[in-house]
Symmetry: C2
Subunit: 204 residues, 2 copies
DNA sequence: CGTCTCATTGAAGGGGGTCAATAGAAGTGG
DNA sequence: CCACTTCTATTGACCCCCTTCAATGAGACG
C-alpha cells in the first residue's frame, strides 16, 4: 500500500474535494483535522463530520449524496488514487474488513451527533463539542487535572458544526469561562479546569 | 442464508433491541418500518434512523454507542442469529461487500439528516420528512399527480425524529394543509397535491 | 357512554437568531 | 515602529420562532 501512496501537505482552508465531485483519492490523515460539510442552496452550511489523525478518509462506490471536504487546520495526508485503492479493495478482504469497521465507527459517531443537533440546547452543544475535541485531538495534554488542547475550528466552523450561530457559540464559551469550567487563551487554546463538569454539561 | 433464517412478526411499538444491549440478531426488514433511537439521561429522545423494507438491519463488531431498536409499525423480519451471521460474514467477501455498501448508504443518509436537524427550520424539517417518507415507503402511490402514502410514525415519533415537539409538528402539518400542498386523512394518511412544491419546501 | 390515546389549537414565555458596535490579533506597508 | 487594514471574536439590544402549558377535539375500544 505504501508503495502507491504519496504524502501531501495542505494549509488550513484548502478544498480537497468540491461539492458534487467524487472522491478522487483515499487518504490517511497523518496530521491535522479535515472537515466534511454539506451546503443548502441558500448557503446554509452544516459540518457533518470531522476526520482526525489517524483516521482513514474516502468514499468508495457511487454516492448519491454530495459532500465537500476541506482542511480545517494545516494537514498532512497520505493519499492513494481512487482507482488503485478500489483495485486493492477488491483483492483484499482484510482491507475491506478494516474499511467496514471504520465506516461503522463513523456511522455511530454521526448518529451520536444527531442527538446533539436534534435534542441539546446551545450550552450542551458547546460543552459536548469541547469534550469531543478533548477526546479526539492528538495534542491534548493533562497536567494536574487540567486538560489542555487547541480547537481545530474557527468560531464560524464551530457554529456550522453545532447548528448554531457564531454569536451563540461565543456566548456559550464565555459562560463556561465565567462559571470556571474552562479558560481560553488566544481564541483557540482551551484549558479545561474540570473535565467531569464539562462532560456533565454536555448532557450525556 | 435462507436456511438459518427465520421470519418473525412484531406489532408496532415492540422493542427489538434494548438500549446498551448488543444486537442479538441480524435481519432483513420484509414489511414495515423499524426505528433506531437514542435517549439522553433526562429522557430526551432522538430517532437516529429508520429502516424500511427491504433494508438490512444489524450492527456487527463491538459498538461503543448504544441504540434501541423498536418496530414503528407492524413489522415482518427475516432474522438470523448474530453468531451465525458473523460466521458467514467472515467466510463471504461478497456478503461483506454488500454490508459495506449498505453501511455507506446509511452513513450518507445520516449525514444528510444532520443538515436537516442542524440547519433547517420547523417547516423545512416537516416537509423534508414527508418527502423522504414518500420516496422510501413501499406503499406510496401516484394517481393523476397526487402522491399518496401512510406515515409510519406517530406525531410523537415524528417529533423525536425531527428534533421538534409534537405541537410544532402538528402546526406545520396544518400549515401545509392550509397552503394546499397536502391533504391529511385519518391522521396518518397523506395526499401530496404538489410533490415538487413539497420538495422545494424541504429546502434542498 | 365513559375512558384512553393521539392529535389539534391557542396563549404566553424564553432561547437563540439577527443586527450592530466594539475589541483584539495578525499582517502590510510606509 | 506605528498607522491602517483585515480577519476573527466578543458583547449588547431587540425580535421571532419554537417550546411550554393548557384546553379541546377526535377515534378506538370496552
Amino acid at each position: 500500500m505504501s508503495k502507491m501512496s504519496t504524502q501531501k501537505a495542505y494549509s488550513s482552508g484548502h478544498t480537497l474535494v468540491a461539492d458534487e465531485e467524487e472522491f478522487p483519492f483515499f487518504a490517511n490523515v497523518l496530521e491535522g483535522v479535515v472537515k466534511l460539510s454539506k451546503i443548502l442552496p441558500d448557503g446554509r452550511q452544516q459540518i457533518v463530520g470531522l476526520q482526525f489523525a489517524p483516521d482513514f478518509m474516502g468514499r468508495p462506490f457511487h454516492s448519491e449524496s454530495s459532500l465537500s471536504v476541506e482542511s480545517a487546520t494545516d494537514t498532512l495526508l497520505c493519499t492513494i488514487p481512487r482507482r488503485q485503492f478500489e483495485e486493492m479493495l477488491s483483492k483484499s478482504p482484510e482491507l475491506q474488513n478494516r474499511l467496514l469497521k471504520q465506516t461503522l465507527i463513523e456511522l455511530d459517531a454521526s448518529r451520536d451527533w444527531l442527538v446533539t443537533l436534534g435534542r441539546k440546547n446551545a450550552g450542551e452543544k458547546v460543552s459536548s463539542y469541547l469534550f469531543m475535541i478533548s477526546q479526539n485531538c492528538v495534542h491534548t495534554q493533562e497536567t494536574e487535572g487540567v486538560v489542555s488542547f487547541d480547537l481545530p475550528l474557527t468560531r464560524a466552523d464551530t457554529a456550522d458544526f453545532l447548528g448554531l450561530t457564531i454569536e451563540t457559540v461565543s456566548r456559550q464559551l464565555s459562560k463556561l469561562k465565567k462559571s470556571g469550567t474552562i479558560e481560553i487563551s488566544h481564541n483557540r487554546h482551551i484549558d479545561v479546569l474540570d473535565i467531569e463538569e464539562l462532560k456533565l454539561a454536555g448532557g450525556d
